[in-house]
């Protein structure tokens, strides 16, 4: 306590060192810039305030879980687990099955990953290992910018640019050369699963590539130098020295991209066609879990209807959380300095 008097001109009045001194009185007494009040009381209060903020974070997640479970009770009771595998969605007769949405979510996300992963790996590899230092910053910034564009703007662009392009050029081409797979048949509307997958891929690339970049940069420089010293070409160095060490983290990055794709709402809703149907063809319209909530939540007239939509939300929440946790663990295993084992 006596320290406090040292750094300043003698303060007016006595300096009673009373442990239970009233805080307001204390701060008016000293009044200096970095001093004030009885430190114990203020320290305690400050600690409590910060703890309160931290508890808020915990409470919010608690509230999410509570809200989703209680408000979906009605639907759980009526349909149970069968809800996720029944494909009837009939609000009028109050019969609900979420399978078309589950299917649409899985297919559009996998399609997005199929398109995005090779691109993202290419971008990450190019930025970390190949491109001139001067270009590196600019490219990293550009891909980050891609991540900052709001979902609704992707959707807008998809409606007016991507969908017509698909309809006029890509879909006829795909139908002609790959129609035999059964994936590209039927009328080419433009709008449909393929459009949703494509726009999702564009949105997911920056996430996957920026985390892959992080993971690749975490690989120690000595690994690269060691492989180069053995006479490897640059690609061999990347393959043996970098990718192999970073693979767990790269896998994590992909999973993280999957998590984002699963929960993505607006852009998908705008181009997927919003029809609860299951079709093998990627040209056909579909529906996703997030889209059905976005479209129907505010007009759900009955309690069961609302409850069914919340149940879809609960499932979406649980799946994305599990996927994200898995991804985090994988990314940590690399960036925390534990290289993947099993070198061949």
């Amino acid at each position: 306590m006596s320290n406090r008097a040292l750094g300043s001109p003698p303060s007016p009045g006595p300096q009673p060192v009373v442990k239970s001194g009233i805080a307001a009185d204390g701060s008016s007494r000293t009044g200096g810039f970095l001093r004030g009040g009885n430190p114990r009381i203020w320290d305690g209060l400050f600690y409590l305030a910060m703890l309160g903020c931290a508890l808020c974070v915990l409470a919010l997640v608690g509230v999410i879980i509570y809200e989703l479970t209680t408000r979906s009770q009605l639907s759980w009771k009526a349909f149970g687990w069968r809800f996720f595998f029944a494909s009837e969605w009939d609000p009028v007769n109050e019969r609900f099955g979420a399978w078309p949405f589950v299917y649409g979510t899985i297919v559009s996300s996998l399609l997005a990953l199929f398109l995005a992963v090779p691109l993202a790996l290419g971008v990450a590899t190019f930025i970390t290992e190949m491109c001139p230092r001067r270009l590196r910053e600019a490219l990293a910034f550009s891909t980050e910018l891609l991540a900052a564009i709001p979902s609704v703007i992707y959707g807008l662009w998809a409606i007016f640019v991507l969908v017509p392009l698909l309809r006029e050029y890509f879909e006829p081409w795909l139908a002609r050369y790959f129609g035999w797979t059964g994936l590209f048949t039927g009328p080419a509307y433009g709008i449909g699963m393929l459009a949703a997958g494509t726009i999702l891929a564009i949105m997911v690339v920056p996430i996957i590539s920026s985390i892959t970049r992080e993971v690749m940069m975490a690989v120690p420089q000595q690994q690269r130098e060691a492989v180069l010293a053995l006479g490897a070409t640059r690609w061999e160095m990347i393959r043996i020295g970098v990718l192999r060490n970073a693979r767990a983290g790269i896998f994590g990055a992909v999973i993280l991209g999957l998590g984002r794709a699963l929960g993505e709402t607006m852009a998908v809703t705008m181009v997927i066609g919003n029809r609860p149907e299951i079709s093998r063809s990627l040209f056909a319209p579909g529906y996703t879990m997030a889209s059905v909530i976005a479209n129907e939540f505010s007009e759900a007239a009955t309690d069961t209807y609302l409850s069914a939509l919340v149940q879809v939300g609960l499932a979406l929440f649980l799946v994305t959380i599990i996927v994200n946790i898995l991804a985090q663990l994988l990314v940590w295993s690399v960036t925390r300095g534990m290289p993947a084992r099993g070198h061949a």
Binding site: M1, N3, L34, P39, W42, D43, F46, Y47, A49, M50, L51, G52, C53, A54, C56, V57, L58, V61, I64, E67, L68, L119, G122, V123, F126, M130, C131, L145, L146, A148, P150, S151, V152, I153, Y154, G155, L156, F160, V161, I202, S209, G231, T233, R234, G259, G263, T265, M266, A290, I293, A294, F297, V310, G313, L316, F317, T320, I321, N324, I325
Partner: protein
Amino acid sequence: MPNSPESRPIRVSFRRRSMNHLVTLAAATAVLLVLLPLTAIFAYLVYKGVGSLNWAFLTQIPKPVGEPGGGMANAIAGSALILLIASAMGVPIGIGAGIYLAEYASNRMGDLVRFTADVLNGVPSIVVGIVAYGVVVLAQGHFSALAGGFALGMMMIPTITRATEEMLLLVPRAIREAAYGLGISRWRTTLSITLRTATSGVITGVMLAFARVAGETAPLLFTAFGNQYWNWKINQPTAALSLQVFTYAISPFDEWHRQAWAGALILIVLIVVAVSALRVAAGRGMLKGTS
């Protein structure tokens, strides 16, 4: 690989060399393919948006279908209102939780909060909307700016928390000890020394969170709901720029499509300005006065 005579013994075979070039080419192609939509999106936004941007767009409220003109002034104001509410909720809680994590948390509690923040970060935005609906809209009995702000505020917290923690941990221990040595109390040290030192980094985190939620639409669909008229009350349905862009984009009217592009342009300018400012701040060094 060097091709000088000394390195002759390890001459690289044609197959390996061509593979090397092939992969380099593939990676460069990937970069171009990714930059293509980026440039296309911005080009379209500017091309379509600038043409429909005018004074009326910025100052008037929407006209009924069929009448030309009108604007999104109420949506711009509504977005500002909602984002203000979101920041008022998200920034203090986020920074507070970050301070707790960096300065006070025991290992177990810290890990729990960190883990929970990561979980919160991964919650799909549409689910956040459902929760805000249950917590605020049902309690109030109608859609409102408050509910929208609550949803977005919730989404800001984890980003700010983790950024604040990271920045505070970068502040050298010695600075804190120097402050304690001068007899400055712990809370005062945290606020006036540690947090002060990390200010620009923390601001970067806040801006990042802000940019992330500024364009969010899904959580506003059934919280703020949208409004065709002016509204300044926080307990009434409120228009938002992103919502308006969505509604206009999926409408069948050409006039509305034009306005959607203009709205999107304004939205993106807002976000890009925030992100670039963040970049500049980050480039100047996160920690003022420590080096």
